[in-house]
């Protein structure tokens, strides 16, 4: 599978807030149901109906990698992921505190940090998300897809205005 430079694209507008992604993530990685173990979490503003899935961005210049005192965190160029080497990890949780997205978790049952590994190129959260709030696409395509979406909105608005004026 060609996975190089593929990224997890999150479209919060499409998210229905069902949290199936959290469920399948935990089942896939740990064989259990428990959102506390999920690499992806849906953050909600229930009173506004806003749901935002949050997951690791696999940063180019990853703060977790930089802060790790034992160099247990490295970049996997093949999968375009940031990985934790558990043989080296000392569980200091520096990565947890520095991540700007809260994407590095700490599992208090196994006493270990954990993060998204994109399921080695077949992310289950994407597979189960029928509304495509989560997509696994080429990094190059993210911007053009966003442009298309923005253009659609722009067109709809101008069309509405034109109709009103007509």
């Amino acid at each position: 599978m060609e996975t190089k430079d593929k990224v997890l694209m999150i479209n919060p507008e499409k998210c229905t807030g069902c949290r199936l992604c959290e469920l399948v993530c935990a089942v896939k990685h740990d064989g259990v149901s428990n959102p506390a173990r999920s690499r992806i979490r849906v953050v909600k503003w229930e009173m506004d109906g806003v749901y935002i899935p949050m997951a690791c961005q696999q940063c180019q210049d990853a703060p977790c990698m930089k802060v790790c005192p034992v160099h247990a965190i490295t970049r996997n160029d093949e999968l375009n992921t940031i990985e934790v080497d558990y043989d080296k990890c000392i569980g200091c949780r520096s990565c947890v505190s520095i991540c700007p997205f809260g994407a590095m978790g700490f599992n208090s049952i196994d006493r270990q940090v954990f993060k998204c590994d994109l399921c080695d190129g077949d992310p289950q959260c994407v597979r189960f998300c029928e509304v495509e709030a989560l997509e696994y696409i080429d990094a190059d395509d993210v911007a053009i897809l966003k442009k298309q979406e923005a253009a659609k909105k722009l067109y709809a608005t101008s069309h509405k205005v034109a109709l009103k004026e007509a």
């Binding site: 499409k14 469920l23 089942v27 064989g31 428990n34 506390a36 229930e46 009173m47 109906g49 509304v131």
Partner: protein, 646 residues
């Protein structure tokens, strides 16, 4: 493991809390969810107990599959003796509460007693605490949930709450979670209110082990594909349940002006597409939301577009709100429906019951049985939008003679109003019918007459009867997992074989409610959706328990019989208009006046209808009085109930 989730007995009077495991032999007989709740209710309540007294046990549960890797295991079930009907109280809701309770370690709660002051129960990873709720008492359903999150300083807490209506003991007050998920029917909110129990809050991070995780994940994917490929679910995912209202109204199955008509005219403003446009305008193109793990996402998000409540956020409106605040009261205006929906959500009241009761009061007003003197000057006539919204508030706070009477439920109110008011009341067993009109559909009429919690569509409705499926297809569906040799008819106006269909659906829906999944994931509206044949696999992969389809059918039948036993103990008799399996005379006397050509002029033929009930009783193994035959109880292994195993 799902099977290691516990049951907690909580006494609010003494503060005692006892936690027990759920034995495997109990699981194998009653599975979980509503089925096991029914067992617990029969075992933990005394005959004739006061529904609003401390002895009435309030039972809250998730199903056996709740929060496992199965599809849409979001449902919470609430059971107690109903203050509305005096019979079985049972309500079911989606959202995120039951999964959180399962992650916190529990599948069932049995709550007895009465707290001295307003309180709430907090459950966190196996620990249970009773906390003060005096500062939360009086708040609306959403305010209460956010107040609890603040009190616990935890935004991830999920709560089941009551609003002011539950506190004021309105007999059809509901329990709610999230913005709009309501355990709506039979007044479970009033039972909570009577216990001074404002809420149950849960937060859990405990593993639920999946017996066969790889297979469970793959099977879940297949399950979801099967569910989302059904056209009806696709449409639900775009338009929500208003889609059903639109379809039903078009052929003439929607009660209008209480029971005067069977179709709402001039309803363009509340057609599903019109409601969808409001959602589009006020939220945006992606305005559908889902309950836990569900890919149907039938909950529309909206803001009220105009009027005094302009800008308020809510979800829905379900098709029941279109019926309750649009058709029944003959006020088919979006602003009224959306505002009405919002008010009942905030106050915590059953939209089906209140809409039905307001429209009944409007008919009584038209007939002169109640007058403007009784309503303190409110012009309670059909089509008066302000009167509908005003009545919702008055009933919640029990202001004035009429509203206070209605807050007690239809039958008690009919005794206050007197004259012929009872004759106009569209109810079974004391619970009002939803907005649907069953005069042209004998199968659906049988369903509401015999449903265990009163006039209701979610306990045994053969909704696919309206699709006119070929008999061959009907036999394939209704001939499994137990054979059916009798006749079935594709014609929804027929009486042939409907008793079996209702019996089959009753068992199917009980199965779903024991599993803890949503009815949109079984044969309710979609013909191709999972049922008894598919459930053994999903159960095995997730829990490791092995069942055959027939064994699951037997469990469902057993649980339904337990509900019947409870109702019989509390006074159900076959032909009693207040507590029996009988319809209001209007179904037999007043023909449909609107709708499709094959609907106009129809009403229920009483003789044939009574024969249908005979047939239904026979399928269930009841005698002609409606009591179970001794051999039926023996066959279902419940001849010694209540057995006090748990």
């Amino acid at each position: 493991m799902a099977l290691d989730r516990k049951i907690a007995y909580i006494n609010l009077t003494t503060g005692e809390i006892e936690v027990k495991p759920i034995p495997l032999d109990v699981r194998k007989k009653f599975l979980g969810g509503r089925g096991l709740d029914a067992y617990l209710l029969l075992n933990h309540s005394k005959k004739g107990c006061d529904p609003l007294g401390p002895d009435n046990p309030l039972i809250v549960s998730g199903g056996i599959l709740t929060a496992t890797c199965a599809s849409a295991t979001a449902r919470t079930h609430i059971m107690a003796k109903s203050p509305l009907t005096g019979l079985l109280g049972s309500a079911n809701m989606g959202g995120f509460f039951a999964p959180e309770m399962a992650w916190a370690g529990f599948h069932h709660l049995v709550i007895k007693g009465k707290a001295e002051t307003p309180s709430y129960i907090y459950i966190h990873n196996g620990k249970i605490e009773i906390r003060d709720a005096q500062n939360i008492w009086g708040k609306t359903t959403t305010e209460s949930q956010w107040a609890i999150q603040d009190d616990l300083n935890d935004k991830e807490v999920k709560s089941l709450v009551i609003g002011p209506a539950g506190e004021n003991l309105v007999t059809f007050a509901c329990v709610m979670t999230g913005i709009k998920n309501a355990g709506g029917r039979t007044g479970m909110g009033a039972v909570m209110g009577s216990k001074n129990l404002k809420a149950i809050a849960c937060r859990g991070t405990m593993d639920i082990n999946i017996a066969h995780p790889v297979e469970a994940l793959e099977y879940n994917k297949r399950f979801i594909d099967q569910i989302t490929s059904a056209k009806v679910n696709k449409t639900q995912g775009i338009l929500g349940t208003p889609m059903i209202w639109g379809a039903t109204n078009s052929w003439g199955g929607v009660r209008t002006r209480n029971f005067q008509y069977n179709q709402c005219e001039y309803s363009d403003d509340i057609e599903p597409e019109a409601i969808d446009e409001i959602c589009n305008d006020t939220i945006g193109p992606h305005h559908m939301a889902g309950c836990f793990g569900c890919q149907v996402h039938c909950r529309a998000q909206y803001r009220i577009p105009s009027g005094p409540l302009k800008g308020r956020y809510d979800e829905g409106p379900e098709y029941t709100s279109l019926g309750a605040f649009g058709a029944e009261t003959d006020t088919p205006r979006a602003e009224t429906v959306l505002a009405g929906n919002h008010l009942v959500d905030q106050y915590g009241m059953d939209n089906l019951e209140i809409g039905s009761l307001i429209s009944w009061a409007m008919e009584l007003y038209e007939e002169g049985i109640i007058t403007s003197k009784d309503t303190d000057g409110l012009d309670l006539k059909f089509g008066n939008d302000e009167a509908v919204l005003e009545m919702i508030e008055r009933i919640c706070y029990r202001k004035g003679k009429v509203a206070d009477a209605l807050a007690q439920g239809g039958i008690p109110a009919s005794k206050i109003f007197g004259k012929k008011s009872f004759d106009y009341l569209i109810q079974v067993k004391g619970m009002s019918n939803l907005h649907s009109d069953e005069r042209a559909t004998p199968g659906l009429a049988l369903n509401i007459a015999t449903a265990s919690r009163g006039s209701d569509h979610l306990r045994s409705r053969p909704a696919i009867d309206l699709y006119h499926l070929p008999e061959k297809v009907l036999h394939k569906i209704y001939g499994n997992p137990v054979p059916y040799k009798g006749k079935l008819s594709s014609e929804h106006t027929e009486y042939i074989g409907k008793a079996w269909q209702v019996f089959w659906q009753e068992n199917c829906y009980m199965g779903v409610d024991c599993l803890g999944i949503c009815k949109y994931h079984t044969i309710f509206l979609g013909v191709t959706l999972p049922n008894f044949e598919d459930w053994p696999k999903v159960l095995y992969y997730n829990t490791g328990l092995e069942f055959t389809p027939k064994e699951l059918w037997d469990i469902s039948e057993r649980c339904n019989m337990i509900e019947r036993l409870f109702n019989l103990r509390e006074g159900l008799t076959r032909e009693d208009l207040e507590k029996g399996d009988m319809l209001n005379h209007r179904y037999f006397d007043e023909p449909c006046r609107r709708g499709a050509p094959d609907v106009v002029g129809l009403m229920i033929d009483k003789k044939k209808f009574i024969k249908m009930i005979d047939e239904f009783y026979e399928h269930k193994g009841l005698d002609q009085k409606g009591n179970p035959k001794p051999e039926t109880l023996k066959r279902l292994e419940i001849e010694n109930e209540p057995s006090h195993m748990l």
